[in-house]
């Protein structure tokens, strides 16, 4: 049976007059990664806190790892791990002590605790720093320790709230590898991110969140297909050439200041050749040409109703 690891329905949450979640539904299949993508204040963290039993929803229901978050929170807690936006490590303990603390609280028993902690230190490349105080840890190391603490009891569902915010590119890639490893082991992951690249890299499914609602949901390529953002941008040496080219391509948008023209196209090779051929026939010299395929940026901006800042139509 393919039960969902997370099944949330009709979740609502308001803080005073501010509606944070508005009838939100979300299903995550067991063993998959879903990314919640949205701007600040879209409600990403609120979903995480509700699903991880930190906060109660005003309305709606959610079942995580087979237990209802409201009726059996301890059942949920025994099966999940949360690595939040804010470092959830004990700054006065060493890395090893932090992990041992978690192992004890998960009741692994002294022997298994020791082996599990050693395993995690090794896996997260923290063996060398294991006995050093956390004040000597870099941001990336702290985040790795944070996640390692979440994994002490091998939870079946893991919530990662902006796991790579503030990390340098190398640490970010390390984190991605770790997440991929978890999924390979059958763990279900729900992560939030503001980085579109991250969602694209990691997620099987992406839910785009805006104003407390999911405005789009699907596989990354499905979402990309929904946005007709492909175009070719041509830059010319002078206004005359720009004029001529603008006449040539009726559906194009011109940018007089930049002497550039944006021509919508599906960016396939055939379409590109046709475009270049027409330019040739008109004897128009192009200074610069760039091809823009739709990426998650376009998806994000199109679906959340934000102005496309690097937009072509000024």
């Amino acid at each position: 049976m393919s039960t969902a690891a997370i099944d949330a329905r009709g979740l609502r949450k308001s803080y005073g007059p501010k509606v944070v979640l508005d009838d939100l539904g979300l299903t995550v299949a067991t063993g998959t990664v879903t990314a919640l993508l949205g701007p600040n204040g879209a409600g990403k963290t609120t979903i995480m806190t509700i699903l991880s039993t930190l906060v109660r929803a005003d309305a709606g229901s959610a079942v995580v790892a087979g237990s209802d978050v409201a009726r059996n929170p301890d059942g949920v807690r025994a099966a999940i791990g949360l690595t939040g936006q804010f470092s959830a490590v004990d700054g006065l303990l060493t890395g090893e002590e932090n992990l041992l603390l978690m192992a004890r609280l998960r009741h692994l028993g002294p022997k298994r605790s020791k082996t599990r902690v050693a395993e995690l230190l090794e896996q997260f490349d923290l063996t060398e720093a294991a006995r050093k105080p956390l004040s000597t840890y870099s941001g990336g190391m702290q985040r790795r320790l944070d996640l390692a603490m979440t994994l002490v009891s091998t939870p079946s569902v893991i919530f990662l709230d902006e796991p790579t915010t503030g990390l340098d590119p190398r640490s970010r890639h390390t984190m991605w590898d770790i997440v991929r490893g978890l999924v390979a082991d059958g763990t279900t992951v729900l992560l939030t991110t503001q980085y579109l690249e991250e969602a694209d890299e990691l997620a099987d499914r992406i839910a785009v969140l805006d104003g407390g609602r999911i405005v789009a949901e699907g596989r990354p390529d499905e979402l990309k297909r929904r946005v007709p953002g492909g175009h070719v941008r041509l830059r010319f040496a002078d206004a005359a050439a720009l004029d001529a080219a603008a006449h040539l391509f009726a559906a194009s948008a011109r940018d007089d200041a930049g002497l550039a023209l944006t021509v919508p196209t599906d960016a396939g090779v055939g379409a590109l050749r046709a475009l270049l051929d027409s330019l040739d026939r008109a004897h128009l010299e192009v200074d610069d040409l760039s091809i823009h395929t739709p990426d998650l940026d376009d998806v994000f901006f199109a679906l959340t109703g934000r102005v496309d800042t690097k937009g072509t139509e000024s």
């Binding site: 790892a65 807690r77 999940i80 004990d90 004890r104 979440t150």
Partner: protein, 283 residues
């Protein structure tokens, strides 16, 4: 593989789960206590202050005020005022030492509540009480340490208790009980505080109470309207019972009163802090 039967629908399963959880409360409390003890070792500043302040008070009251205050005690020869006052003030100083740890406990808890690790604890299947019990036990141990040091200093400057082994044992038990009770209230105060900065304000009340009791002067020397309060507030029975055990003064109705107050404070503090812990969301 991922069928997680954490909630067993059968009654025996539920009973077993409850039994398991009960044993976890103890194990988790000890884990949390260990964590708090490590904090005390790693961050000794607060502990040093908590121990140092009553030592300063002791020396101040004995060597600065002692001569005059001692001479005013009923039935004391003015020439031996200082020694008499040392004996008189010690039980009050000891109880005040315990009260002084309340501020530290409240600050520690308030700080801890703002830490991400506390949010993590909430997402784990740990008993709510265990997190708080860890703090309470940690503070009780710290109070013990403080009392031992203060008592040591007192012995150095000439404090000579008349207690036998039985009385000492009872005194140690009483101090543990008072520390435990005050810690629970202090934890509640710390959790209720809006910020870490204000967390140590409310426990200052505990430092004041020995003064408005029999800690520094006999309550009989106070005006009548104040005596009523001074006689029955928790610290007078605490101090008088300690005094009776260490110095052989009449115990009277003080011991049951002291134990009663401890029970009331501990239960009240427990219920209060657990309620706040449940209610307070980390962010």
């Amino acid at each position: 593989m991922t069928t997680l039967n954490t909630q067993s629908p059968t009654a025996p399963g539920r009973v077993a789960a409850r039994g398991r959880r009960q044993s976890h409360i103890v194990a988790d409390s000890i884990t949390m206590l260990r964590r708090n003890l490590l904090h005390i070792v790693r961050y000794p500043g607060l502990t040093i202050f908590v121990i140092g302040a009553p030592v300063v008070f002791l020396l101040l009251f004995v060597f600065v005020f002692g001569g005059t205050l001692g001479a005013g005690l009923p039935g004391v020869d003015p020439a031996g005022g200082r020694e008499a006052y040392l004996a008189y003030v010690m039980p009050g100083i000891l109880v005040m030492t315990i009260a002084g740890t309340a501020g530290g406990a409240a600050t520690t808890v308030a700080m801890d509540m703002t830490e991400g690790i506390t949010a993590r604890f909430r997402t784990m299947a740990i008993s709510r009480a265990a997190v708080l019990t860890g703090h309470v036990l940690g503070n009780t141990i710290q109070a013990f340490l403080a009392v031992a040091v203060v008592l040591g200093v007192a012995l150095l400057v000439g404090f000579r208790p008349s207690a036998g082994p039985g009385e000492w044992l009872a005194a140690v038990g009483l101090i543990a009980l008072i520390a435990f009770a005050i810690s629970w209230v202090a934890i509640g105060m710390g959790m209720q505080a809006k910020s870490v900065e204000t967390a140590s304000n409310q426990p200052l009340l505990f430092l004041l109470l020995p003064f408005i009791g029999s800690g520094f002067v006999p309550t009989e020397s106070m005006p009548g309207w104040l005596q009523g309060f001074a006689q029955y507030q928790p610290f007078t029975p605490f101090i008088e019972t300690t005094r009776g055990l260490l110095l052989g003064t009449p115990l009277g109705w003080y011991p049951p009163f002291a134990i009663g107050w401890c029970i009331v404070l501990a239960i009240g503090g427990y219920v209060w802090s657990v309620a706040i812990y449940e209610r307070k969301s980390v962010r």
